[in-house]
Symmetry: D3
Subunit: 128 residues, 6 copies
């Protein structure tokens, strides 16, 4: 429904973001997420700048950050996000074993989150 904006037809403003994405990631192509966001350049720019800042190496390493991103995407059932952040995690070194463990943890957390909701628990003072 939303048109994908290819590099060749993009405005200078959009191309600047595309160039920064490819430079930052060391890739030579742009995925559909950005091509669709590019219909609204301010959202393209703002979202990319947020991703670039938040996902940069920091107190957490890039792979750990990507694993967290993937676990959230699985929890929300976002198919595109699971595919794109799964690929990103593999590119950053996620092994099949780590992937399998991530899926197990994500599933289990979703399970016990509902146990806790159902049981209407007071937070133990030791956790404060």
């Amino acid at each position: 429904m939303v048109q994908l904006i290819e590099y060749d037809e993009a405005s200078a403003e959009v191309r600047a973001v595309y160039d920064d994405i490819m430079t930052t990631r060391g890739t030579d192509w742009i995925n559909n997420f950005w091509k669709a966001l590019a219909n609204h350049p301010p959202t393209l720019r703002r979202t990319w700048e947020s991703i670039k800042e938040v996902m940069a190496p920091g107190a957490l390493d890039p792979l750990t950050k990507e694993l967290i991103y993937l676990a959230v995407s699985i929890t929300n059932g976002c198919g595109y996000c699971i595919a794109s952040h799964g690929a990103a995690a593999r590119r950053k070194g996620m092994t099949p074993e780590q992937h399998a463990e991530l899926i197990a943890i994500t599933g289990l957390a979703n399970e016990t989150n509902r146990h806790a909701a159902a049981l209407d628990l007071d937070i133990d003072p030791q956790f404060r």
Copy 2:
């Protein structure tokens, strides 16, 4: 609403699980989650065995596992789980800076998951 089963009043079956929790974690108390689950010993046992297996050191280290658990709990808005797994993560070494980065990633993933849903994106063949 659900009664909390304290150690002193627990059956041998429940005490065995409580003992294993405390031994595995190196603690001397049981938090409310388990005390509430203990009203149904099969669920207590099964859930604890799952947690013990899934959260043990593996291809992912225990802190990374706990961070993933916390990110899911935040996404689901489970207050008790955020408190308990936040405490567990701190016990396993999560620094305030890492906590802040985890919150930023979790928020951002929830944002872009909705961008992707709204835009109805085809998955790029490169991600397959």
Copy 3:
């Protein structure tokens, strides 16, 4: 934040709904959900009529219906709903053992729902 509309101060239109709620349920009080919805009588009326129609005995018995309602409320983490539909289920005969099994199923479904999302599964033709 939203004012609760008590019976004595309610309009005739609101009282008629309150009366029908109490008659249908065989109770002599109105819970906060309806008192808050009563600030907007059309929503009060429409919601009550929907509940009355959907939760009436049909191809599914009233207890089964209430169990389904409770499982959804747990999945969504709605504290008020878990309390009110938990109480309704007990009034309709839910035993503690059934409650425990419901919590276990709800948790497990939330877990495997995420496994399935993570694994991006094709639906087996046998399920069609």
Copy 4:
């Protein structure tokens, strides 16, 4: 899996709802949502009457109402709903720029909702 009930094969009860949908909307076709709901006429009727009442012009204008509907559908990741309510919003005048802003707001709200959950905030007294 669920059969779609076409106008020609529908019962009088179902046709009456279909006719009202087309008259109210000024269209000459029925979308799959209603054709699938028509397998259970009471749900078809009740859902249509709710939509008709809730989405009618009121204190909020029809476009604003449709934008709210669309934002919820995006948050829930419902592909069919995003398509159908996106089309409805365009029919009621939503511009591409408004669509882009709606997506940005919906994404951002999902982000800060998780920040707030993670930080376990007390509600400021000024908000009460």
Copy 5:
């Protein structure tokens, strides 16, 4: 993306689980969910054992359990799960009328869960 492990190529450990699934269910085939989980045998085994234990006849009968599973899957919008647990429910006797009522209840619970959240309700003491 994840490879499906067919029976003929599976390890003895995986085959043992597949055999137990088919024996328990009285079927002669394995659905994609298990074939994908089989990439990580501990998760395959643990998940199957949980399903087998939780979904066995107990205080709730197998059909009621499957209905609860299906309602959760609908709430989470998990397409594969809706298909597989819908099929399982039909196999256990769910009629079209019961299916329609389940959909109506699940929808309504999701609606009133949001009413309750929006209205920020105190839990009535009678529900405690």
Copy 6:
């Protein structure tokens, strides 16, 4: 659990954001959301800049934007967000009648989103 950073104890970087928030909003106080985010100044700054950009008047007016924010917050069951964005909407002119209609729409969208998921609908070509 997270410390609230008051203006008097804040760094110059944090104060600059606080000042901009108060100037932009025409208020003389900072709510807990920002005081908690201020533990991580980059997230404080980035989040505020996003809010400021996204919620500024544009193709959608500020009240409509706030209504969309509120509907998402209700869907996610975020108590703090419902309180803060409900207050913001009232400050921007939301009437009680508009609030009631928003709650009704948000509830209904959550209901029909599940109907659509349950029915596994093909998207009508007319919506493309």
